[in-house]
Amino acid sequence: MSKEDFESGLTWEVKANSRRYHKHKQRKSFLCFTRGRYSDNVVRSHKYSLLTFLPLTLFEQFQRAANVYFLLMVVLQCVPAISSIPWYITIIPLLVVLSVRGLKDLASDMARRRCDSEINSRPCDVLVSQSFMTAQWKDVCVGDVLRIRRDQIIPADLLLLSSSEPHSLCYVETADIDGETNLKYRQALDATHNELTSHPSEEALGAFNGIVLCEEPNNRLYTFRGQLQWQGECFLLENEHVLLRGTVLRNTDFAYGLTIYTGADTKILRNCGKLRVKRTQLEEVFNKVVIGIVLSVLLAALLLAIGAGVSSYQVMTQTSFLSALVVDGNPAYNGFLVYWSYIILLSPAMPIALYITFEVIHTIHSKFIGWDLEMYWQQTDKPAEARNTSLSEELGQVGYLLSDKTGTLTQNRLLFRQCCVAGQIYGDASVSAEDVKPMDLSWNPFSSGGLRMFSPTLVETLRGQRCPVATQFLSALALCHTVMAEWKEGFPVYQAASPDEETLVGAARELGWVFLSRTRDFVVVSELGATRQYQLLALLDFTSKRRRMSVLVRDPEGGLKLYCKGADVVILERLQKNCPHQESTEMALELFAEACLRTLCVAVRSVPEALWERWSKTLALSAAMATCERDTLLEKLYDEMERDLLLLGVTAIEDRLQEGVPETIALLQEAGIKVWVLTGDKKETAVNIGYSCKLLHPESRLLEWQELRQILQSADPQVSFFKAKQTELWATHKEMARAKTSVVLTGSELAEFEERPEWGASFMSLAEQCQSVLCCRVTPAQKAEIVKLVRKHTASITMSIGDGANDVNMIKTAHIGVGLAGREGGQAVHNADFAVSQFRFLQRLLLVHGRWSYRRISLFLCYFLFKTCGFALVHIWFGILNGFSAQSLYETWFIALYTVFYTATPVMCMAFFEQFSTTRPMTTRPWRSLSRWLRPSLLQLRL
């Protein structure tokens, strides 16, 4: 391997069709020694083998302090001088707990093993000496050439060599990787496409002897860097040339690929990290209680031992029947032995079976959540799901609910309602979507209805080609996107990663600009019936940081155009100077925001040929660079291109509220939960949505940044906050005033906040007195920052709910993350602890399941501690009556079977089935504060 390769990080070498070369280097492992580079294509998600099960499971279980404690007890009991109860008495509960836990792990491991072997034995076609043979997945080796058929799952990470489609395109579905169900295309290199597409292709493929140099295996699903050295040339490889394991080939008869990464090296397996273990607060309280129990056992044993010393001294001085029994005639030594005896005797106070019972109860509670019919969403056939089974009781203690807006409060079923082209507003959002008169679009053969905008003037303008800005605007809508078109019964069906794009492309289709198809290099659009083919030069991706995307195309006339669409702030700052219609457009933006519409600005730029040539060269250079450097360079490059834009117009999309959202928010607020909404939308839009979903009361006063800042800067924020309210609401009752203030912040203001960390505490104490907080224009990272702020300054449980990839940060940061199984892919759900389908299901999740679970578990813990402590404390009392001699009052077997057998059922039944009251009053009339009812039991626990 050359030095150069090392420097660029391309150190993974794959030789096509040389199985022996790679087999030789395959990774072999024996115990903890591994040798070789390439892993085989066998999935091993199981942990245990016949030999390792016992040591591993014991190792895992003895990481629990309670288990170690009991093991120590068993050891102590083996010392005859101090053993107050026989050794087998403590080992029985310990063994029961260890074996139950071990069997549970074993069973789940067996399930994994079965699942693995099912995956490993899936068939696939491997090229062996110029013909394809059916082999199993586990036999696939790095360097093999595979043939994937339609609808087959791809068995390893492949370099696409060629496919049955023109240009060697192929389509994949990545639902199992990121949950997105839209098709994505992958394309082979021109070189391999031209050389290897022949009939029959086996011969050409068999002779293929390229060498792939690429990155070491990593978990970045969306980037790939490498080069193919073949026939003396070097081709750069990108993500679009790669088929990832776990994706499904669609709409393509055959695809041929060269295996690059197998088994544990594949991107998806590198990605499935371990599940985070979230510990609930109750568990932490409980751990403290356990420590307290241990300490008090030690203390009690110490006192009793002193008693024993004193009493044996007395016995010694008398001539009594007992005096000969004092060991060595030494009361102090006697007391020392009794100390250990009492530690053993009082050890049943330590709730050994509690952890395992706790787990069982959590699992059952999670199942109840999944089984609940009232949280089942018929339309998508999705029940609620508790992905993290150990958090159910936290649901009952949520103090702060931080919600995303789009797709969470709203349906994310987007309707194109209005647009503003060249300063002119078309459509009327005041008419509700159902009442919009359908326009006559019969002239357009591709129209399939569904446009909720009535604006004949726009259609006339467009058909008459009277306004070049309007035509450009629609061209931009039809070109600037990443939508795939699938043809079904003569109509294009659009598949988009983002619902916004789908709506915009759909709207363009209705208005006569029909996106027909896309290849790697071309986008075909029918403009009012005339089919035009645009050459796609570059696609500047959308990221949540950039908040815009652009395409650079060469139109059939040969002109270079950059179409850009994105968030208004981003676009407006990139316009050319003195851009026409800017003011009128900004007014339109405000109008749209007031009508709760989502806006996107569309702009265009004519790119000079010289600039493009220079730019494309730099872009080509960047491909060979290391990832992090390249990212910064790309950002700079993109920024260079997206400048001097000419504003075309604004689209306004309506996103309607989900069913039951206002009621749910009102109910949660009544239950004492603070609801915060964090959204990327504009302030006006967010505030309007806030009013319509009852987050903001119509009479409530909005406290904005300027004022808030003054309050925070003042010496005593509480006082000035109060003053600020009283000046406005002097007439109303103080308490009322308190409840009716809401804070509205924007992202840039939050950024200022981060610079002044000392404001955090006072801000939170103010926010606690406000009805709600609304943060607009926040980035995903800021969302997580806000969650952190709340977590840091309050003791409450925070819950985040969101549906999109931009909410993942916040979902992961909060105590409890809820993913809404919506239309924006499955990323949020994959990272969440709970998944529901509708926002209003939170009512039931929090106020019914959460409450029940919290109450049951609180009761359960108290009951459990009561029964174990009660059982052990008898011995302290009895100690006073038997001369502090560590004599057990019970028959020994009774001690052994008490916790794990005799008293296991009632406490479990109560933890499963106890219902504080029926569900009805809880969802229709929650008490003002949930904690009021629950605190006593927790307090009791702390005592």
Binding site: L322, F368, L881, G883, F913, S917, W927
Partner: protein
């Protein structure tokens, strides 16, 4: 089943596309079952406390518990019990001399006599107990100091008793194993109690005390057995063993009157070996059988108790008592249960009355089923 499919999903998590894409089967409906269990609609009972339910509950409890308590109390009171403390602590008590002049190696037993009067006749079977106070029979080292297999007649344990018996395992001088070994056996209660009735005509008659049937059946027949062959002489069977240090006689001579009541199956010994849970306890000593005719078992009048004073308790401030008692269906005399029932019943009744008054005076609502939140 819903449960199993849920589980599988949980377990394999997000691995490597394990979901069944491209499968042919029709998609399974994930709608949860509408069963009472899964929807948490199992029949439940939630008591709502209203005046209408609470008041009758109080009255019913009160009215039920008071008669039960009275019944128990009366039953307990009908049990006759008489207790004599013969420790001999006070200088004027008859056993004062015996208690003070006690020495372990005295050969002549010290005898004292305590007089007492029964004011009421004792009917039916009368049980005679000895009671000890401040005697820690529940001390762990004491409780452990025995060898159950030796007592069960196992020959090997007879020869080499368990280590638990230390320091009463072997005789320090002869090095012979002690039978029965251990501290419990060593401290066997060995006072002899005899009861005399001084008849109104001036004669005294000895009251017949039955020493059989005072031990548990299982103890006598299962747990305790003499070692060796039944045909052999008991002395023969215990050959090679030493008597416990404090004993005057070896174990096979405990009861000179009845050869069947000797060795480990001596009933007094068995009763002693069942250790008491508390430091103040009584143990059954003898039974006075009911007379066939209608005369009371123990007529009222003067009695005297003749004690052969062998057992020292003064050194650890212990007390010794003799108790005579009849029993009823609920066992010995125990007024506590009856008093507890009467107290709880009275409190409930009283509370019921108070609550009724409050309810009548202050309840202004027409419907009392609601409780204010």
């Amino acid at each position: 089943m819903m449960a199993s499919s849920y589980n599988a999903k949980e377990e394999d998590g997000h691995h490597s596309g394990s979901s069944t894409h491209g499968g042919t089967g029709a998609p399974k409906n994930k709608k949860p079952d509408n069963t009472a269990f899964k929807q948490q609609r199992l029949p439940a009972w939630q008591p709502i406390l209203t005046a209408g339910t609470v008041l009758p509950a109080f009255f019913i409890i009160g009215l039920m518990f008071i008669p039960i308590g009275i019944g128990l109390y009366v039953t307990s009171n009908n049990i006759k019990e008489y207790e004599v403390d013969y420790t001999g602590v006070e200088p004027n008590s008859p056993c004062y001399d015996c208690a003070n002049s006690f020495t372990w190696n005295s050969t002549t037993p010290c005898v004292c006599t305590v007089n007492f009067t029964l004011t009421q006749p004792f009917e039916s079977n009368v049980y005679m107990y000895y009671g000890l106070s401040n005697f820690y029979q529940n001390h762990r080292r004491y409780v452990k100091s025995r060898d159950d297999s030796q007592l069960n007649g196992v020959q090997s344990s007879l020869i080499s008793p368990s280590k638990e018996c230390e320091p009463y395992r072997t005789n320090p001088e002869t090095k012979q194993p002690i039978a029965p070994c251990g501290a419990i056996a060593n401290s066997l209660f060995n006072d002899t109690l005899e009861l005399y009735y001084s008849q109104p005509d001036g004669n005294t008659s000895k009251v017949t005390l039955v020493k059989k049937g005072i031990a548990w059946y299982t103890d006598k027949h299962v747990k305790f057995r003499n070692p060796g062959n039944d045909k052999d002489n008991l002395t023969e069977r215990f050959k090679g063993t030493a008597k416990p240090v404090n004993w005057m006689k070896p174990v096979y001579e405990l009861d000179p009157s009845d050869p069947e009541n000797n060795g480990f199956i001596n009933e007094d010994f068995i009763v002693w070996m069942r250790t008491a849970a508390l430091p103040t306890f009584r143990k059954l000593y003898r039974i006075i059988q009911k007379k066939p005719d209608s005369t009371p078992t123990l007529a009222s009048g003067k009695y005297f108790l003749k004690i052969t004073y062998n057992y020292p308790v003064r050194s650890f401030d212990g007390r010794k008592r003799m108790i005579l008692s009849t029993i009823s269906w609920m066992g010995g005399k125990n007024p506590f249960l009856g008093i507890a029932y009467i107290t709880v019943g009275s409190i409930c009744f009283f509370l019921g009355v108070v609550l009724l008054i409050i309810h009548h005076k202050y309840d202004t609502r027409s419907n009392s089923a609601d409780i204010p939140n």
